[in-house]
Amino acid sequence: MPSTQTPPLAGTAIDPPSLRPPIDDAVIERVEPSALRERLSALKAEGYTMLLDLGAVDYPERTPRFDVVYHLLKMPARAASVSEVGKPARTRLLCAVDGANPRLPSVMDLWSSADWAEREVFDLFGIIFEGHRDLRRIQLPYDWEGHPLRKDYPTRGAARERSPRPAFANKMNVQAGTPPSGRTLEALQEQIKRAREADSK
């Protein structure tokens, strides 16, 4: 069992699904954007009737910057009792999208539920889905600028960064392993050095 005190991976989140064996019951697969529609149509023909969810993750330190995650469920169309439903198979499809010009084909025609999910990913991340009938912002006002769930968008909003909260009240300052007051050994040595220089002047 991995220890909770292993040092973090220096802040990089390269590809979490590949870092350890799957811990939930889904079959995880990675697919290229060019092969995405083909793979999804094949999965749909195999019986994956439900697109449970469509989300995205932003890894700014990695070259294909975004990961769009499709969760699929193999639900039989005729399943009137619990035993007929059984334990449906789950699949997770991850598709890495480039950060400079993020585009993916839309899967609205395969599963209608992708309509709002793709609009939300466009709204919050800026990934454009080609072939979507009506790709506009869904969660934020129509004239909002920026895509909030990207890692370079400040949590408090662009307008309020001019009046930042005091440093001690911002939990973002507390990195794992760093004392919140900033009193590390290096800072102390720096302080001693500056004091000695001030003394010797």
């Binding site: 006002p141 909030p148 408090r156 909003g157 309020r160 909260r165």
Partner: protein
Amino acid sequence: MGLACCAIEMMTVTSSEYDIARLGSEVFRSSPRQADLMIVSGRVAWKMAPVVKRLYDQMADPKWVISMGACASSGGIFDNYAIVQGIDTIVPVDVYVPGCPPTPDGLLYAVNLIQQQIREGGRGGILARS
């Protein structure tokens, strides 16, 4: 104006356990033209803010506003890009009710304070601590 979790507590105030009807305030009008009091209960997103302002403008004078809950009073636990940090930036508020969500007793006390304000003629933000 039932927006989020506080709206459920606002509905609970009309239920039999807390019963706002005994204070004479049981009728929740759908139309702002016929209302005297606007209770903003819940977090106000930036997309909803112009709607809140428009509804306030549509109310006829004299009108009062209760800001129910931490999110309506100050942004609450959501100090981020999406939530208006206190509706007193868009509409004038008469009574603030703290809590996340406030208990229905708190809202009853706030209505009491509004009635007190109407009787005594004072206006302005009062904190309903319950």
